[in-house]
């Protein structure tokens, strides 16, 4: 079974702090994604990556950056957390560009005070 592991399930941070969200997948998937999920807004794509060291902006990249130094690991970075970044963050992976099948982690619920 594909496993996507997000290192932190619940985080509480203060405004202005730097936040790292880590995601690791164990199925050698090419693609990795970061989404945020908010009530009434569904899932919105923040960043994605098709290959190591490659990243592309999604629909809402402002205030975020990412890092993919190894194929299995994709990190989301909030350089200076703000209260409007309080959300559920979901990492996903998929085996190729032509498939819409995403394998999600369990999510990281971030609260910024």
């Amino acid at each position: 079974d594909v496993k996507v592991t997000q290192s932190s399930r619940y985080l509480v941070k203060r405004t202005g702090e730097k936040v790292f969200l880590e995601c690791v997948q164990d199925m050698d998937h090419e693609n990795m994604f970061w989404y945020r999920q908010d009530p009434g807004l569904g899932l919105r794509l923040i960043y994605f990556s098709y290959d190591v060291k490659m990243k592309e902006k999604g629909d809402i990249p402002e205030g975020y950056s990412v890092s993919r130094e190894k194929k299995e690991r994709f990190s989301l970075i909030l350089e200076s957390a703000s209260t409007n970044q309080t959300s559920m963050y979901l990492c996903a992976s998929s085996p190729g560009q032509d498939t819409g099948e995403l394998f999600f982690g369990e999510g990281s619920r971030l609260t910024v005070l």
């Binding site: 569904g42 592309e56 560009q97 819409g100 995403l102």
Partner: protein, 112 residues
């Protein structure tokens, strides 16, 4: 107007009932359609995947796509309390995995 519209619910039905969940969309370029199920405090998991108009059945679940009306449905027969979850429709185009659009989800509760 959102590209994908989904009634957020919540929808509450008795055990054993047939459940119908629906989404409408506006972009005729979508080529494949999916339903994800998300249990509370968990990530979504793929439930059904289809790429053509018509019905696709998997056990108690049937996915229906009507491209002419831009309307997709998920039917759950003999619903069980374990089906209580949020159901997200999603759709996309081939070679554009980054362009999957999700509905906002319908929260479903099955009463024992």
């Amino acid at each position: 107007q959102k590209e994908v519209e989904q009634d957020p619910g919540p929808l509450s039905v008795p055990e054993g009932a047939i459940v119908s969940l629906n989404c409408t969309y506006s972009n005729s370029a979508f080529q494949y359609f999916m339903w994800y199920r998300q249990y509370s405090r968990k990530g979504p998991e793929l439930l059904m995947y289809t790429y053509s108009s018509g019905n696709k059945e998997d056990g108690r679940f049937t996915a229906q796509v009507d491209k002419s009306s831009k309307y997709i449905s998920l039917f759950i027969r003999d619903s069980q309390p374990s089906d209580s979850a949020t159901y997200l429709c999603a759709m996309g185009r081939y070679s554009s995995a980054s362009k999957i659009i999700f509905g906002s989800g319908t929260r479903l509760s099955i009463r024992p």
